[in-house]
Symmetry: C2
Subunit: 135 residues, 2 copies
Amino acid sequence: MLLSKSCEYAIQAVLTIARKSDGDYLPVRKIADETGISYHFLGKILQTLTKAGILNSYKGPNGGVALVRSAAETTLLDIVAAVDGLGFAQRCALGLPKCSDESQCALHEDWGKICKNMSQMLESRSILDLISFYK
Amino acid sequence: MLLSKSCEYAIQAVLTIARKSDGDYLPVRKIADETGISYHFLGKILQTLTKAGILNSYKGPNGGVALVRSAAETTLLDIVAAVDGLGFAQRCALGLPKCSDESQCALHEDWGKICKNMSQMLESRSILDLISFYK
DNA sequence: AGCATTTAAGACTCTTTTGTCTTAAATGTA
DNA sequence: TACATTTAAGACAAAAGAGTCTTAAATGCT
């Protein structure tokens, strides 16, 4: 699969934050209930997003997490980069260690195009795009 | 990553078989030495390919494995299907359980195209294509 | 000050993938 | 028949990913 489970959860969580929050912090508990993702596991994932500068977090009553930038300025690629890294677009499709732009494997060119498509898709889709899709 | 390690190894092994074999069976030992893949692990993977009807195997002296069909008639998709299955092309990119052709997620259309590209690439590339690439 | 709420952090478990090792079964050859 | 070669199969170990649980730290409210 393209994205790890953690990364899928991260995207679902950010989608929920963008949909549910009205400028205030949204508690992780609420996000977990909304998405069905395990509360504690989700907590870890959101910590990663906080460290990556995608979310702000605040402790205590009325605390929770919130987007740092607007939903329009946060892209799927930001989230994927933070959680899974961008290795998916660099790896040789056949896992050949010698494969590089200089010494290409037989799939290199085609695979490169596909990776570029994926990256562009992830980069061109903001969180706002995704949530407005459902309205 | 798109393909599992086992699947990458399977492709590398089949490539080696097509390159090295002259109609005879090629011992797994030779393939392991040639590719650097662990002998025992490779053995398991090749068993899978044998059960899937991609390879023939023969025990005893002068035994080993060989392609069932010609290198021109064996595609990458055959190998991927046997080792990893074809789930990669069906799963929702965001892991949403409700996502389907009827109830699409925001990436459904784009992701579908990318998956189709990948499938077509894997299906259109025969083992012969890959080995002739290097000549 | 004390309490309830909420994130942070780390230990721990479970599962899957990856990899190793040993033994069994098949087969050609002397 | 005995032996060497080679795949088949299954037990086992190691590593990574996924998920759970407990405790600590921060913060608002009374």
